[in-house]
Symmetry: C2
Subunit: 236 residues, 2 copies
Amino acid sequence: MNLLLLEDADFVGEDRVRLSGRRLKHLHEVHRAEAGDRLRVGRLGGLMGEGRLMALDAEHAELQVSLDQAPPAKLPLTLVLALPRPKMLKRVLQTVSAMGVPRLVLVNSYRVEKSFWQTPFLEAEAIREQLILGLEQARDTVLPDVSIEKRFKPFVEDRLPALATGTLGLIGHPGDYPACPRAVQEPVTLAIGPEGGWIPYEVDLLRQAAGLQPVQLGERILRVETAVPALLARLF
Amino acid sequence: MNLLLLEDADFVGEDRVRLSGRRLKHLHEVHRAEAGDRLRVGRLGGLMGEGRLMALDAEHAELQVSLDQAPPAKLPLTLVLALPRPKMLKRVLQTVSAMGVPRLVLVNSYRVEKSFWQTPFLEAEAIREQLILGLEQARDTVLPDVSIEKRFKPFVEDRLPALATGTLGLIGHPGDYPACPRAVQEPVTLAIGPEGGWIPYEVDLLRQAAGLQPVQLGERILRVETAVPALLARLF
């Protein structure tokens, strides 16, 4: 936790917050914080700054905060991701949030196992928990927008074209395709497939309905949780 | 497992292998393989090609293999990594192997918790197991060379200079430093710190003793397992 993230409900005064639960535990066990310590803080959806720990015991921590810095810029990106397996989903949500992806669409694909859709990690509260961990890691305050599309075809035909309009539309896909571009200056829509990749029908639909073009990162097949940071670091 | 990796001990004839254990289980449970199936195979440290499944039962699989393709090129990189926490170490070893890092040095740092050095995941057999998973993921046959340096200063002063000679020496380090270069053409020595980063003394020693220069990836603080693929994808 490189940033102590504050929610509206934590505020007991204009510049005063009171914490308990996970963040209090973290202050005690990881930061080994004491009254008087100064910590980086941020208000969820708002500014970042400094908090001074006024009091701390087993039940609560109280901080006086001063918030005056804007959070870091987001990437100009919509990421369309075939739903990863549950354990990987958790880590990918943290990565997406930490790297500054503002919009994530989790979508079905032929090679997504049906059971993945049953995971409790897809519940809104569980998704939010992982996104918050990513913000705390990277020092950001603004939650990405995550949407879930359980049907590939209607999403790609009916909603993706509007999302992709005016962007560079790319499909991360191993094969005989152009290399993924570097340091692009324009907004990007990037579709990353499941373990095993998109099937040809899906690549065709992403191309034809939404104008996305396949690009590759070399002959090595990467896990989704590796491909995501690799593609984003190369693109931006 | 995108490549069935064969070891010398698997060969029962010049082009004939016999498998049991983990890989047999994977053939049954994930590939749902049947006699006659063709699979991508590679010989550890050697060539890649195709295997035809001649027989398969609960005890063994037998394949006839034809090996004629070189494995993919490695990155021109020596990666010096502060020892991550054990769970992350496992994933990072897979990533390093999958992305084609030929040489990894796991090193101590002030912010590496002492307990991390006690993990059984640092035993040679455990490291090898994770590296193999990375090779199977990415379709490569050549194990990276992993060395362990439990003392930072003697490593950086006595051995790192020779490793870094003739390479672009970089320290991945958040802060007011030049941006990490892109698409470099020369060999690189890259040092990535622990969670919390290198301490100033360590950065100074990496600079002065071995000529490495700090570079940054932006103001977001990334977990080590995200920073590794992000830095590699940007550099190469």
